[in-house]
């Protein structure tokens, strides 16, 4: 550090270089260099070359990596507060979600990462997750009954599929295409850009936009590394992050619209179901958190409406 005054923060993530998050991080590096007059920049490691999301968070705790983008679902294993986002139908719309994320509630959840030796810099948009299925369209929760649905490695996700009456099957994202094609699972759930970029539409022709969960991505920095930055450097980093968030929101929306348009163009069945029956089927999942920190967040979110 003494030889050169430049601070390079290493950022690992698991997405490809065409993803809105990667583009936003490239923009963030530019903005950081701009604010710091070339004193600071980011070095990006995309494609999961440095590890899975969970492992990247550990590297931050260990101190060999500075920053990562991680799904709030992955952070459930580290901090209880993050379980909020894995619950179905927490937010009523994209606007509502961003209002909450950018309010004191969102701030408090980011602060909850501190005991895990992590500092939350902000949220990126990861849209809403919906069901897609190979054989028949999921029009109501009834249609989920008995289907084997791939879920992320997350307790919340397993419980939610159980509540819909489906059979939750955890399979890694990389193996999912083959599993869908072979019929090991009948369907899965994700946001439209991921569904599109993983080319799952080649084997699953039915996409039902029931939007059960909206799990944001979180930008985190190793607390050890963050605390070694000067106040000025921390300030520049936060400014660059704010710019990157605005940029990513736009890019995400573009990616989502593009994916949906392409899906429809290629003859895929895209269905907009009535969300009410879906909400009713899983409403009791919120009650299970009544006396916990997640329950308090749910009440605060309700109070804001």
């Amino acid at each position: 550090d003494n030889k050169s005054s430049k601070t390079v923060l290493r950022v690992g993530h698991t997405l490809d270089t065409k993803h809105s998050v990667h583009k936003a991080l490239e923009f963030m590096s530019e903005r950081l260099a701009h604010y710091s007059h070339g004193e600071m920049s980011l070095k990006l490691y995309p494609n999961g070359t440095l590890g899975s999301e969970r492992e990247l968070v550990e590297l931050l705790q260990i101190g060999s990596l500075a920053m990562t983008k991680v799904s709030a679902a992955t952070l459930e294993s580290f901090v209880d507060d993050m379980r909020l986002f894995g619950l179905p139908y927490v937010f009523s719309s994209r606007e509502h979600r961003w209002n909450i994320l950018e309010s004191d509630i969102g701030e408090d959840i980011l602060h909850s990462l501190q005991p895990a030796k992590l500092y939350g810099l902000g949220y990126f948009d990861a849209g809403s997750r919906s069901f897609y299925s190979c054989d028949k369209m999921i029009r109501s929760p009834e249609d989920v009954k008995g289907l084997k649905i791939r879920v992320m490695n997350s307790q919340n996700a397993v419980k939610m599929i159980d509540a819909f009456g489906g059979a939750a099957t955890p399979i890694s994202w990389g193996e999912l295409y083959a599993a869908l094609q072979q019929g090991v699972v009948d369907g899965a759930e994700n946001n439209p850009p991921s569904f599109y970029s993983a080319r799952h539409y080649e084997v699953c022709k039915n996409f039902s936009l029931n939007e059960h969960t909206s799990i944001p991505d979180v930008m985190v920095i190793s607390q050890h590394i963050f605390s070694h930055l000067s106040d000025q450097e921390q300030h520049w980093l936060k400014l660059a992050m704010t710019d990157a968030v605005q940029k990513q929101k736009t890019l995400w929306l573009e990616a989502e619209n593009y994916a949906l348009a392409e899906m429809k163009k290629s003859g895929l069945n895209v269905h907009y179901p009535d969300k009410k029956p879906f909400m009713d089927a899983v409403a009791h999942l919120h009650d299970a958190y009544k006396d916990s920190i997640v329950g308090q967040y749910l009440m605060r979110i309700k109070a804001k409406q």
């Binding site: 070359t49 260990i62 083959a178 072979q182 970029s197």
Partner: protein
């Protein structure tokens, strides 16, 4: 940056020549290089974490399972029945059992998606059987290792799915269909080499047998062949994944060996399980250590430095493609396939596309190329499993490997410079 990369390579080769176990050569050289850019505690902790992380994979579970089912079938006499059957069918050809080896590896590889699993499943019973029939054990191991890589290109293939994601949107279906012809081309070339090598070395061919005898041998092999149907049917019919097929294979071969053929006593199972665990652990420690090494290489940007240098060397597309292939062969020598695909696709694909190559064609070329690396020293998962299963050492199988490497390289050159081999089928099926 370049400095710690140089240190890594130097320390690795020094320890390698000094007879240090390869997993430790990889681990120690990674640790030494890492200490130049990361403090002691974070560096050692990171290596520990990468080693565990490298093993944290459901797909890898196929290794101990197929090793175990292979050992059970070997003990249970199933292997002999299977090989007798194949021998009765094509044993009369020059190098008959070597051809059977290639064909069964291709067949197994085309349902498992993992060359390592193929090597352990096929190798653990066909190598001893080839030795029994008078073949050189090192040659048998070499054939198994090379032939099992055909399954990386012939679908289903996890590595092609990983490539599709790393390339940012090449169709997986198109890649799958594209893999058939190059895979069969590779298998045919390997068979030609095997036949030639066997003639030269005077390996035995079997006498042509009466039809009734052939039928008898085929019928005797039916319970064993059922296992292949269970695996093919299970995977293609969507009943289970390759790893689950491994567990079913263990279950089925256990019943066959203990209850049907009664050639394995329950008391012997502990010893078989321990042997399977030992063979698997050798490979798993290597994978763990390699995973730390590829982390270090990415961290120090070594792949990126390589690609920048490359573009300054030549402007002729044919030469650049050749250089890319040579670089990938060197990469494959040291690195596992999955990290290599993840690291080098984003670097080389733009170069290849600027030369007018389609991402589909590039993907098949890259996977075929890295397949050579899977069975080339010093680091190659298939090579390690092959040696472990074939109970031999790397330096001993290099000599019989040479003609097989040449066959693989010819296949690679044909696939590199004739786009139609990769693109004809996907175009014919309207996928591309």
């Amino acid at each position: 940056m370049e400095f710690s990369g140089l240190i890594l390579i130097l320390v690795f080769f020094l320890l390698l020549i000094l007879n240090v176990p390869i997993s430790f050569c990889i681990g120690i050289s990674t640790a030494v290089a890492m200490l130049f850019s990361i403090d002691f505690i974070p560096a050692t902790t990171t290596i520990s974490q990468r080693m565990v992380g490298g093993l944290d994979s459901f797909a890898l579970l196929a290794i101990p399972l197929f090793v175990l089912s292979g050992l059970l079938m070997g003990r249970g006499g199933v292997a002999r029945k299977l090989i007798d059957c194949a021998m009765a069918l094509i044993g009369m050809l020059p190098g008959g059992l070597a051809l059977v080896n290639v064909m069964s590896c291709t067949l197994f590889g085309s349902i498992s998606g993992s060359a390592v699993a193929t090597t352990s499943a096929i190798g653990s019973f066909i190598i001893p059987e080839m030795e029994k029939k008078g073949y050189d054990r090192n040659f048998a191991t070499a054939v198994t290792a090379c032939a099992s890589t055909t399954g990386m290109i012939i679908p289903p293939s996890n590595i092609l799915i990983i490539y599709a994601i790393a390339s940012g949107g090449v169709s997986v279906s198109a890649l799958f269909v594209a893999g058939y012809l190059p895979g069969l081309l590779l298998a045919s070339l390997l068979m030609i080499v095997c036949a030639g090598y066997a003639i030269k070395k005077g390996f035995p061919t079997e006498a042509r047998l009466p039809l009734s005898f052939v039928v008898k041998k085929v019928v005797a092999a039916v319970p064993s062949l059922m296992l292949i149907f269970i695996i093919i049917g299970g995977i293609l019919g969507g009943i289970f994944t390759a790893t689950e097929a491994g567990a079913i294979a263990v279950f089925y071969s256990l019943i066959l060996a203990v209850l049907v053929y009664k050639e394995v006593k329950v008391g012997e199972l502990k010893e078989i399980l321990l042997k399977a665990g030992e063979i698997s652990a050798i490979v798993l420690l290597l994978i763990a250590a390699s995973s730390a090494m590829s982390w270090m290489l990415s961290y120090e940007n070594i792949p990126e430095i390589i690609s920048k240098t490359l573009m300054t060397i030549s402007e002729n597309p044919l030469i650049i493609l050749l250089i890319i292939n040579l670089i990938l062969i060197i990469v494959g020598a040291f690195m596992d396939m999955t990290p290599a695909v993840l690291i080098f696709t984003p670097i080389f694909l733009p170069v290849a596309e600027s030369l007018g190559m389609s991402p589909l064609h590039f993907g098949i070329m890259m996977v075929l190329n890295l397949s050579i690396g899977l069975c080339s020293p010093p680091v190659g998962a298939v090579l390690f499993v092959g040696c472990s299963v074939g109970n031999t050492t790397i330096d001993k199988i290099i000599k019989p490997m040479v003609p097989l490497y040449i066959a693989m390289f010819i296949a690679l050159m044909l696939v590199t410079y004739i786009p139609a081999i990769s693109e004809f089928l996907p175009k014919a099926f309207g996928l591309y």
